[in-house]
Symmetry: C2
Subunit: 409 residues, 2 copies
Amino acid sequence: MAHFHNVKHTTYYVELIMQQLTDTLMETNATVVRQSFSVKFAYDVYFTTHLFDGKNTLLKDFLHQHKSDTVKKIFFVVDEGVMNHHGYLDEQIRNYFSHETSIALVDEIMVVPGGEAAKNTESLLLKIVDAVDKYSIDRHSYIVAIGGGAVLDLVGYAAAISHRGIRHVRIPTTVLSQDDSAIGVKNGVNYKGKKNFLGTFAPPVAVFNDFYFLTTLTDAEWRSGISEAVKVALIKDAPFFAWLKENATVLAARNMEAMKYLVQRSAALHMEHIASGDPFEMGSSRPLDFGHWSAHKLEQLSGFTVKHGEAVALGIALDSAYSFVSGRLSEDDAKSIVDVLLDLGFSISHPLMEIKDESSPVIKGLEEFREHLGGKLTIMLLSAIGQGEEVHELDIALLQKASAWLGTI
Amino acid sequence: MAHFHNVKHTTYYVELIMQQLTDTLMETNATVVRQSFSVKFAYDVYFTTHLFDGKNTLLKDFLHQHKSDTVKKIFFVVDEGVMNHHGYLDEQIRNYFSHETSIALVDEIMVVPGGEAAKNTESLLLKIVDAVDKYSIDRHSYIVAIGGGAVLDLVGYAAAISHRGIRHVRIPTTVLSQDDSAIGVKNGVNYKGKKNFLGTFAPPVAVFNDFYFLTTLTDAEWRSGISEAVKVALIKDAPFFAWLKENATVLAARNMEAMKYLVQRSAALHMEHIASGDPFEMGSSRPLDFGHWSAHKLEQLSGFTVKHGEAVALGIALDSAYSFVSGRLSEDDAKSIVDVLLDLGFSISHPLMEIKDESSPVIKGLEEFREHLGGKLTIMLLSAIGQGEEVHELDIALLQKASAWLGTI
């Protein structure tokens, strides 16, 4: 048959023109075309002060980099808490874009409630999606989020799923989002009370960290994000840990120059890790989650009354103690880590974190941590300060010992 | 101040250890860390017959490739139309996995309605997301969709946003999904009547095309997907168009060997285009959408009574005619394209596609096409058979002329 001949002929032909491997799988009488490509993602993380001051051209310069024949829209969504502390912001943003001809500010500057509640409220997600429709915000337009980590996660998710992804700019306003979460590639919302059950990996096109927003944080908010810097120093960068040790007291006393340095160094370390590792977490390992298996569980057990940063400090203390009692880390180093956390103003013990026996509730965090990523349990411990080591099992007796050791300090 | 010194020192230090470009932007007193990484995506597209026959080990072999220490779950979502035609499928899938120890079939095989309605129904999306929760389907588990393009788009979207992306396997059952949509990287659902308003770019981990499913399609469904093969041949592959011309009549008569070839060749060409181009459509151009600006509008104008494939055939006829009347393509070539479409059983004219003046409704499709991708209007035309050419403007007078020329055939 002519067509059958053609089929034979063209399987061969496709192999040639595709320059792809086309195998004939003889046993199953099947053929395969193997697809493979890489997608490049690039974004800049800026550090500045007074981003929307008329004299600060950083954001405008960034927007003008992307030449275009069409006027691009820019839509702002702002955390209510930020707007309350920085009431001038609405007017300042409008002034900032008032003389722009190639960028059209969308008239509505949307204000949404901040904190974890933002991620629990489906109507907020749909409010942003509806604005995309209402204002004809296309893929080449910009959605800018100003706020803490929860608002950035919410807006980032809305931007990622609308039209399969609208350009997204993040302006984090807390220590935690500036030094860790906002400079990464994840977004998400909660679903039926499950944290980040819905979300995507979608890098922003740019991040602008404005240190001035940090001046209006409460002391607890200021401190909260520091634990992620301690974490990344411990697993990656001994000199940074030494610096944190030296500066723990002034950081606790809200020295801004020290904080600027901390934020930049921590952000750079997190970014370097993302770029050199597994950005979209296709494997089972998540090295940046040192101290997080128990922290996530504690947050949940406390009904989220323990803040993420406080919980991470407690988790770091526990896993550092475990690294010591399991023979990986010296007692001096473990003690030094705990001292830095205490100098920063963190607690290192909490009733819900105590491990007395196998039924201690925080232990359930191990299996939940495994489940979230799937595959084999993978936990980061310390073999030295600045040096992480992955293990696939934690021993309950040693966890009890670690918990007891923390109780002696 | 000591801390200030440290800041200076460490900006330099970060530059060294990050091996990233860290600029000091003097004018704005800002710093920047530039992030850049590539993510590799790879997936196999298989072509077979009777995928779930006990003797066909193709799917099992694929699943066993990914070694794991944990038992992986596999969850099936099946198009109701497919299940109606292939009632044995439920039992066949259960038998296929009955002796597996490393793969655990989720007990529920979910059946969802097919066709565009699947993408208009939020409760269906949530039904799949809820199953992910209920059956603890983690990122290393598999969600498999069996069905036409709409069901694959719905299930693919649910898989992409649950836990930020669960491994997704597609088993397309129509010509249109096997030769075009299912072998690509997009998913999506409709929102407030807007097609694909919500969605992501998320490559599957594998695609299995089972030709046997094509035997139960209606004649209209069988024909519908052929227009995408004609389209990709016209913009990329003159020999494939010559083959289509030679085989148009036997294709219309449902010759399966000819169809197998068409599906494989069309899928390979689409895949090659995705890999070599702009897989996640970050630019303004979408070359594979030859003939689609008017097709999308016609679908909408007809209240979706005109099928996508039929609309694309009409769109190809119009843009081929425009390529001729604008001096790009010879009249003989334009005539040859129209003849192939007619031999395949497609209509080349439709009252809603006629362009008599500027107020003809289909013309609005141009602006809507631009809006969807954003940026500058970019339309693919033909400079020869097998050779596309992008333009940024269509002339209304020439569109009228093209429409009139089609009326003379």
